[in-house]
């Protein structure tokens, strides 16, 4: 059976046989860059069309269904339109920061990709502080958002950026605490170790109620962190036109838009890794027969299946719930999510110390 692991091993061996070690490294770097950009482009196209179709079905509509089979080429057509559009810079904008902001957001999104395990032994850089790396890099994107909002010299953009800053900074706390809950259980920040610790069952099943509570809090917090409805105050259409990216058009707008969807993919990938076992197939304890059957499904399918399931859940949130007010948003974080996740972390620590989990 061909897997990503075989392909990378074969490629590594082939390159080593034909080139010097430095050249091998260079070629592999270029390949990874191309693969990452290709993944971004494909994900952007797929997620946009998925979002629009899911939204349509939830609102008893049909959604885009004219371009290509079942409307699948709609997002491609939209992208072509965006590429051809003029990218306008406002006269009073801070031109340097205005041009820099979308790239900072994109670079932050790209960096988070490094420690994610896409399939069995298929990752860019499995560093030993993978989860810490992800949580710290994901805070950088707020700089890009603030930068874009400030440089546009537009009231709406600035208000949107400020709201976004307040929101991301406060919701990172409970997202971090719910991630910690799982780190306490498996005792490692390395992504491959976290996945390996779920060989006898995913943490959401093994970790009793605290794991489920942490999972729910994680989902809520990352929905807020990616600025999506019901926490989309940063770009509340009815109040701030488009929030921090009001003044952006053409390809710069597309970069912000793409970064939003990439961030959703990444937080869902991290959520799938922590709670649903990443690429680990569905295993029940030590039932050899059942586990063996599950192993026949390739690990990449498990990973992308779980990730897209979480993305679907977040889209489900978006098209069901009304937007929160800014005071409700901060109330939810500081009065509910943070205390609950702290108590939850305490309970989980007790569970982990006394080995009460399965």
């Amino acid at each position: 059976m061909i897997s990503f692991e075989h392909i990378t091993k074969w490629l590594q061996a082939w390159l080593n046989a034909h080139m010097s070690p430095i050249l091998v490294l260079a070629v592999e770097t270029v390949l990874i860059v191309i693969l990452a950009i290709a993944l971004f482009a494909v994900l952007g196209l797929v997620l946009v069309i998925m979002e629009r179709r899911v939204a349509a079905f939830m609102q008893i509509r049909m959604g885009p269904n004219r371009v290509g089979p079942w409307g699948l080429l709609q997002s491609t057509a939209d992208t072509v339109k965006l590429i051809m559009k003029e990218s306008i810079v406002p006269t009073h904008a801070d031109k340097f920061l205005f041009n820099l902001a979308p790239f900072i957001v994109m670079i932050a999104a790209m960096l988070i990709l490094a420690p994610v395990n896409f399939a069995q032994r298929f990752h860019i850089w499995d560093l030993n502080i993978g989860i810490l790396f992800i949580t710290s890099i994901s805070s950088i994107s707020v700089i890009g958002i603030l930068m874009g909002g400030w440089a546009s010299s537009n009231k709406y953009s600035l208000l949107g950026a400020m709201r976004s800053g307040a929101q991301i900074v406060s919701y990172e706390l409970s997202a971090g605490l719910s991630i910690l809950t799982i780190i306490v259980l498996c005792g490692s920040l390395k992504v491959s170790d976290i996945i390996a610790s779920q060989e006898t069952g995913w943490w959401i099943f093994k970790g009793h109620i605290p794991a489920i509570v942490a999972f729910v809090i994680y989902l809520i917090a990352v929905t807020a962190e990616t600025n999506r409805a019901p926490f989309d105050l940063a770009e509340a259409e009815s109040e701030l036109t488009a929030g921090f990216h009001s003044e952006y058009s053409g390809m710069r707008f597309a970069l912000f838009f793409l970064a939003e969807y990439i961030n959703i993919f990444i937080v869902c990938a991290v959520g799938a890794t922590l709670f649903l076992g990443g690429w680990m197939p569905f295993h029940i304890g030590h039932m050899q027969g059942f586990n063996h059957v599950m192993d026949y499904i390739p690990s990449s399918i498990w990973f992308f299946g779980k990730t897209f399931f979480l993305i679907f859940v977040i889209m489900w949130f978006r098209w069901t719930f009304p937007r929160l007010r800014i005071d409700q948003l901060l109330n939810l974080e500081w009065k509910y999510l943070l205390p609950i996740s702290m108590v939850n972390l305490l309970v989980m620590t007790v569970v982990a110390i006394y080995h009460l989990h399965f």
Binding site: V54, F57, M58, Q59, I60, R61, M62, W316, F317, W319, T320, F321, Y336, I340
Partner: protein
């Protein structure tokens, strides 16, 4: 106790959110519920609601007769002057002069479909049709004459 209220609040919030998600989840898994119609494709079978107000028409029967007496009630009832009734005097068989409609001019471009003219008409000569494809290349084509050429008032309508 405060903590009990707190937990109750969280539980009721989760319950109400779950109720909402159940409904949208039901719609997502039941494409039969979709109410949007693919309009240009289903033109042949499209059935508009009877109460849909698309434009004012004056029905004529097979003898090219209508029920309009030329009383100009509709013109008076129209809030923005979309109707202009031009009347004439006809001499009937007994040699009496009688008011009749010459041209019933209707401005579809100004009409707001408020239905007041239809309600004002004492003889039900004009009704609302449920047509909706009113796109024309020239604005003047929206100014319509509702009574047909050579049409007469129906016998017995006063």
């Amino acid at each position: 106790m405060y903590i009990v209220d707190y937990i109750k609040e969280v539980a009721s919030a989760v319950k109400s959110l779950a109720t909402g998600m159940k409904l949208t989840g039901y719609y997502f898994t039941h494409p039969k519920e979709i109410i949007t119609q693919e309009y240009p494709d289903n033109r042949a079978t499209l059935k508009m609601a009877d109460r849909f107000k698309g434009e004012v028409i004056m029905p004529h029967d097979e003898n090219n007769e209508h029920a309009c007496t030329g009383c100009t009630s509709c013109e008076l009832a129209c809030p923005n002057g979309s109707i202009k009734v031009i009347t004439k005097f006809e001499v009937n068989a007994e040699g009496k002069k009688k008011k009749a409609v010459d041209q019933h001019i209707y401005h579809l471009d100004m009409c707001t479909m408020c239905n007041l003219c239809v309600e004002a008409c004492p003889t039900n000569a004009i009704v609302m049709a449920n047509t909706f494809e009113h796109s024309v290349p020239d604005r003047n084509m929206l100014i319509k004459r509702l009574n047909n050429n050579g049409s007469k008032i129906r016998e017995g309508v006063e």
